[in-house]
Amino acid sequence: MLDNHAKLVKVIASSAGIVGRKKLQKIIYIMKKLGYPFEEKYTFHFYGPYSEELSLRMEELTNLGFVSEVKEKKSNYYQYRYQVTEQGEDFLTHSPVKIPEVDEIVSNMKERSSRFLELVATMLYFDDLSKEEVEAKVQEVKKKSNYTIEDMQEAWRFIHELKH
């Protein structure tokens, strides 16, 4: 029951919470692209790969009380902090769902900015293209984000690190 929900709770539990809806969106997408068994459907949006299904599932988890969502005010915007509740921990102990170890990869991504993860997710979205084509496509679809050559080099390094 609720296997896909349980996988998300596990990711959030593994890293003592995740701050930022965008960050969560990109973390799950990157993990999915790396072969982790997430089933949320992603499509390309203005800000890169985005899953409405994931957004709705997170709302379900907060409405059920498995995950707490705290809205925090930043200088000119709000962001959301997600943490697993006691009930969420209890739910995990009853769930038969199996997912490979996620602690290291999630904490690795958590330290990065959501802007950087957006770049990595976008590059992975175009992984059927060559490296040069990916870079050209990123500049084309994310013109306003002004990613530099250095940003992309760092993203390639990060992808390599995640894969190995």
């Binding site: 930022g20 809806r21 089933e39 949006h45 379900e60 409405n63 059920l64 209890d90």
Partner: protein
């Protein structure tokens, strides 16, 4: 000689349409695309999948809808033609993308995608770029034209304004399906003043915005989306049919994997079971083929497959109760054991279905740059997000209702002898 991309039909062709009255075609390219076998296949795919088991009128196809989206975009572009920010050169590209945006949908695509790990958007792209009649037509426009159409549909085209006509929070796709689904299901919600919205839409940098004076028409559209979600798309009976359909596909795949001998080889499904679906296999699987197999499976030896297929064909659906997976976790575990005891495999007959299991969404104002919201163009040329201006929209786009339902075969359990303690306990747990 006129270039193929600019070629007009000698006389305008019209399709009679119950939603838009007429769909007008003057461009040779559009007419040729409609005639391709891949586009004609959409006649054999229902727009609303299993909803016809709840709303018997809902038999309309993806073909109707695709023509409708094309027609809306055609009308928007008449309005945009001489406005600043709009590049007229993109007209044909927009109309082709509108017409072809659902090309890769298969029969009951939501369930098929979940069970067989498919993505209809991938197949849309493959049909547009692969060795198909559609690709041949698009290639005649220009060597890079198929890729451009695929990019617009995939939302990765460089001109975001073009993309937002086909997919955004107030796009031609949604405006067509809301009205069309309302018409064919026969419900009284789902209607809004589209003509008014089309008149107040404006191209603005890289997005489509709506003049502030049109806010009330947009409110109506958002309300209609909200109501259609709960009344039609998320109808619990439709969800029951979807649950059974999904379980049939899971069962038949599991049987194939364990080497079960089917009475009739499920030829059309084998590449789906093996998750190696070629474009050719994908295109030839339409609803008629699926129903044929379901009829065959209703005569199989396997009791689970036989029962589920019979239920789907004859609308013997599962019943449901509201379910809270947090508060009722213990009850769930007990039910799971009880179902085993009475010989019903709970993996097929005790199913929790959640609101996130369906592919429809509400309006979301879009915090943290998640998704571009609807912007109103104020008289001073500033943009304001819709829910900040409209109390109605703010009220329905805040904290949203989510739900979970537990589906089970009530008829089968009722047939158990009253002497069986499991029967009494199951009903106690379900209806406590």
């Amino acid at each position: 000689m006129m270039a193929y991309r600019d070629e007009k039909l000698h006389e305008e062709k019209v399709f009679k349409d119950p939603v838009h009255r007429y769909v007008h075609v003057r461009d040779r390219v559009i007419w040729d695309l409609v005639g391709t076998k891949e586009f004609q296949r959409l006649r054999r795919i229902k727009q609303l999948g299993t909803s016809n088991l709840t709303f018997h009128g809902a038999e309309h196809s993806r073909f109707n809808h695709s023509l409708g989206v094309y027609e809306i975009v055609r009308r928007i572009l008449i309005n945009f033609a001489d406005r600043p920010n709009w590049n007229k050169e993109e007209r044909l590209l927009c109309m082709c993308a509108a017409l072809l945006h659902d090309l890769g949908h298969g029969p009951f695509s939501h369930s098929f995608e979940k069970v067989f790990k498919l993505d209809h958007e991938d197949y849309t792209k493959q049909i547009i770029l692969g060795n198909t009649e559609v690709n041949q037509v698009l290639l005649r426009v220009g060597p890079d034209f198929p890729q451009k159409v695929a990019d617009v549909i995939n939302k990765t085209y460089k001109d975001k304004l073009v993309v937002s006509l086909i997919s955004s929070q107030i796009d031609a796709d949604r405006m067509d399906y809301l009205q069309r689904d309302a018409y064919f299901t026969g419900v009284s919600y789902g209607h809004f003043d589209m003509e008014r919205i089309l008149r107040v839409m404006r191209p603005y940098e890289d997005q489509v915005v709506v003049k502030e004076s049109g806010m009330h028409a947009v409110e109506d559209y958002i309300m209609s989306r909200y109501q259609m979600y709960w009344q039609v798309y998320f109808h619990p009976v439709t969800r029951s049919a979807e649950v059974i359909l999904t379980k049939i596909l899971h069962r038949v795949k599991a049987l194939y994997e364990e080497g079960y001998q089917f009475k009739m080889e499920p030829t059309h499904f084998i590449s789906f079971f093996e998750e190696k679906v070629s474009l050719e296999d994908y295109i030839r699987l339409d609803e008629a083929v699926v129903y044929y197999y379901f009829q065959m499976w209703a005569d199989e030896e396997d009791s689970v497959l036989k029962d589920l297929a019979y239920r789907f064909i004859n609308r013997k659906l599962f019943k449901y109760v509201e379910f809270n997976p947090n508060l009722q976790m213990k009850e769930w575990m007990e039910l799971y054991q009880l179902f085993h005891k009475i010989g019903l495999d709970p993996d097929y007959y005790l199913v929790v279905d959640s609101s996130s299991d369906l592919p429809y969404d509400f309006y979301r104002p879009g915090e943290e740059e998640e998704r571009l919201p609807i912007h109103l163009l104020m008289p001073n040329r500033e943009l304001k997000e819709l829910s900040r201006q409209s109390d109605i929209v703010e009220a329905i786009s805040g904290k949203r209702r989510t739900d979970h339902k537990l589906y089970y075969p009530r008829d089968t359990i009722l047939k158990l002898s009253d002497d069986r303690p499991e029967k009494k306990r199951i009903f106690e747990l379900l209806y406590q």
